[in-house]
Amino acid sequence: MTTGPVLSRGHSAAQNASVLVVDGLRKRYGGIAALDGVSLAVGRGEIVALLGPSGCGKTTTLRLLTGFEQPDAGTITIAGRPVAGAGHWVPPERRGIGMVFQEHALFPHLRVVENVAFGLRGLSRGARTARVAEVLDFVELGGCARRYPHELSGGQRQRVALARALAPQPTVILFDEPFSSLDADLRVALRAEVRAILRDCHATAIFVTHDQEEAFAIADRIAVLHRGRIVQCGTAEELYDRPTDRFVADFIGQADFVPGTVHGATIDTELGPVLNWQSLPNGAAVEVMVRPERLNMQPNPQGYGQIAERVFRGRELVYSVCLASGRRVHSVQPPDVAFAPGDRVAVTLSNLPTPAFRV
């Protein structure tokens, strides 16, 4: 990797200033609200993932950010300049945004160098050549400069797409499911690689993905989108351990939900009392999130749980436990802890605080 900053523009201003501010963004298609008030601020050098199931509004957000669509309401500000909403409009080509497209969208009629040089306008020939060489070196593709996109491997194409987006030194780089077209091994390797490149050049980036593993691996912060709203925004740990929304609890990782009733400082559930750390009001009916790795089991012939099913996953065993009420919950155990289907067990929840949601 080269030492010089590839994204000098991202380097000069204050580190903590928000480079991209999205405020109250709304967009309808026909009668359907695709975005229903999305607000988000992305700091300089930050990598943010927009995570959500298909149809949650990720792609719409991206198209509004790039300027391929106009918002019905709300504003977008990039590097302090309003680009959409409140009477402002800046077309895509003047927003200073870079984008890595799904399936890369490399120009098939242009060589790698020409693809990378495509966004370098208003530079002298020499400066352009130098910049292309610099960026190609940066993504370690110097040797492929004269090739056409179809002559590259999937991973190389990915890096050309990244180089092309980086070359004009955009304020923000957007990634639209950039790894979805690659196979699993390559995906894991490239994630790390792309993250390293973005870090090295202090780029501000937004990843749109439906793959939480990808979001966890690449992003500093993850915004979970659901039905056109950001339901929670935080680090991976926050989203996993302290989801503030039932949808997030369900969508991130695996979870079961057990009904309970608040009694002062505790919540009574089928799995025993749980700490009411969120200070939910007395008497409230709630659902307690149960992560499978938090569910402990002891062999106990009088236990109220019965092993219903066992799935071997190599590093772990996943048990499906049938509770007295007939409800099923899941428990992850190390492979040496062996129960057989039909075994009776005592089931307890570890006493770490776990979120509960009002029903």
Binding site: D23, G24, R26, R28, F107
Partner: protein, 557 residues
């Protein structure tokens, strides 16, 4: 940030308020804004249609009815329907097995036969009519050969006069419709996923079972699409039926125009014709829609070919026979006719005398193709890239359903009324070609644009290029071959157009097809007509050949 987020929303309660149940919209949302840009471009198509309706509405209903009765319209409909059905069946019998043999079997020479399958499109059908008339008419080549063989004169030996009339016309129209069936069926066969056949084999079906239960059902849309093309062509054709003296709507309209230039009676005759054509198009739309859907995401790989075994010989004979009918006999007749003309000098002198007509043809066809491509290009781009042209694009396609004869006389009336200066100039011909060929051009543009994913354009936009710059630097280079092919297609179609040209040609401005037609009508299918026809075939054939090279086999569908 959060507090501020509320403010713009309050300022614009329209976006905030709960969605009201929406009325069914007849127009896409801001319709005037989208309409104004593209709609004037559809005028060459829209105006003749409106004019036709206006003409018909002005006519006295009883007089209109009487003129229809006088023209025996009911009988005419039955006759033309019979003609069209016969020709369609004949075209399917020729074209479909041809396509299947070259696409799916190990018949010898399939590469050549595949290429030959689309080639007859280079021969205008009326040239074919001319050739078969020269060959099969009483006193024609076949008759004379028979008489020579018997050692008698043609007067002494009976010969059926079959080529002139409905059966002859159906015979010729079927032969020259076969390439359309060939192309649609061949296209469907090559898009067919071989995995489907393999799946059927694993499910216990033999080759014949696969053909009957998988291939044939999947081909049905293509057969219907190809068949409909031929069927419609028979209704709107003017060249073949007029040369073979068969009475159809187009010849009836032409005769009504000749006999005192009665626009209302021509309009009266046009209405049933246009109605039948539009009804057929509407009926086939769902089928065609599904056929085009089947193309998406399909693969072009070749599956295992069917081994014909002892049937290879008969299959080859079938293909040779089909090529003889579509290409061998017509071209052979033309060449033979020319030898009758005497010396090479005579041929050359006559060919040279045709040069002004060649020039006229190239001029109007070139300008017409360019204008059509321009208009279809703008509307196509608006439609597929800007979600605009919502009315212009379908309206443009309505022109496809306007038979050339009908378009011809409506343009006469229109230009006489509104653009008297344009009337009687080649500009009218260009307007006619725009109206007639905007649909194939628009389809070509659509196919060309489809090869360029919108994302590539967006990538160019994000990289700092404006929408026109992005179109120029990304769409044009990538869609270039498709656009060039579309121009060539339109050019070739305009070059051979006769139905509208014969009505609209300015005095003293004959195109080559017009020259051919008038000569044949006046003199008959004589050797001089053959020279004109050969020059025309060469002229039309060159862009077709270029097109075949450019686009493989997906033309004309």
């Amino acid at each position: 940030m959060a507090q501020e987020a509320i403010r713009p929303a309050v300022a614009q309660p329209r976006a905030l308020s709960a969605p009201r149940p929406q009325r069914l919209r007849l127009w896409p949302r801001p319709w005037p804004a989208r309409l104004d840009r593209a709609l004037p471009l559809a005028l060459p198509v829209v105006a003749p249609v409106l004019y036709l309706v206006w003409l018909a509405s002005r006519a006295e209903p009883t007089a209109l009815w009487q003129s229809l009765v006088r023209a025996k319209v009911g009988d005419l409909i039955l006759q033309v329907n019979l003609l069209a059905l016969t020709a369609t069946l004949w075209a399917i019998l020729l074209g479909a097995p041809w396509a299947w043999l070259v696409a799916r079997t190990d018949v010898p020479g399939r590469a050549i036969f595949r290429w030959l399958g689309a080639l007859p499109l280079a021969v205008p059908p009326y040239v074919g009519a001319l050739c078969y008339a020269a060959l099969l008419a009483k006193g024609g080549i076949a008759h004379r050969a028979l008489a020579d063989w018997q050692g008698v004169t043609t007067r002494e030996i009976a010969f059926p006069q079959l080529i002139y009339g409905r059966w002859g016309a159906a015979f010729v129209l079927g032969i020259f419709g076969a390439p359309y069936v060939f192309l649609t069926v061949h296209g469907a066969l090559s898009r067919l996923d071989p995995a489907l056949g393999h799946a059927a084999r694993t499910l216990g079906h033999g080759p014949w079972g696969v053909f009957r239960r998988v291939t044939l059902p999947l081909l049905r849309p293509a057969l219907l699409a190809g068949g409909t093309l031929v069927f419609l062509y028979c209704w709107v054709d003017f060249g073949v039926v007029s040369l073979l003296r068969t009475r159809t709507f187009t010849t009836a309209i032409y005769n009504a125009l000749l006999a005192g230039f009665s626009l209302p009676s021509a309009a009266g005759l046009s209405l049933p014709l246009v109605g039948i054509v539009w009804a057929t198009l509407l009926l086939q739309r769902p089928i065609l829609g599904r056929a085009s859907y089947a193309q998406e995401g399909a693969r072009s790989g070749a599956g295992a070919r069917v081994a014909l075994g002892p049937w290879r010989g008969p299959a080859l004979l079938f293909l040779l026979g089909a090529v003889l009918l579509t290409l061998g006999l017509p071209l052979g007749v033309l060449l033979y006719q020319i030898t009758l003309l005497g010396s090479a000098v005579a041929v050359r002198d006559f060919a040279v005398s045709l040069l002004p007509f060649v020039r006229n043809s190239l001029l109007v066809a070139g300008l017409g193709a360019s204008a059509t491509l321009g208009i279809a290009g703008i509307i196509g781009w608006l439609r597929w890239r800007r979600r605009g042209g919502v009315l212009a694009a379908p309206l443009l396609q309505a022109g496809y359903a306007l038979p050339g004869t009908v378009l011809g006389f409506t343009l006469v009336g229109l230009t006489l009324t509104f653009l008297p200066r344009v009337y009687g100039t080649p500009v009218v011909l260009i307007l006619a070609y725009i109206a007639l060929f905007a649909t194939p051009a628009l389809q070509g543009i659509g196919a060309a644009l489809a090869t360029v994913p919108p994302r590539l354009e967006e990538a160019a936009r994000v990289l700092g290029h404006g929408s026109i710059g992005a179109a120029w630097r990304v769409v044009v280079p990538l869609a270039g071959p498709g656009l060039a092919g579309t121009w060539l297609l339109t050019f070739a179609l305009a070059l051979r157009e006769i139905a509208a040209t014969i009505i609209l040609r300015p005095p003293g401005f004959d195109t080559l097809p017009v020259r051919l037609w008038t000569h044949t009508m006046d003199v008959g299918p004589d050797p001089r007509a053959a020279v004109v026809a050969l020059v025309l075939v060469g002229l039309v054939g060159l862009p077709w050949l270029a097109l075949l090279r450019l686009q493989g086999d997906d033309i004309g569908t």
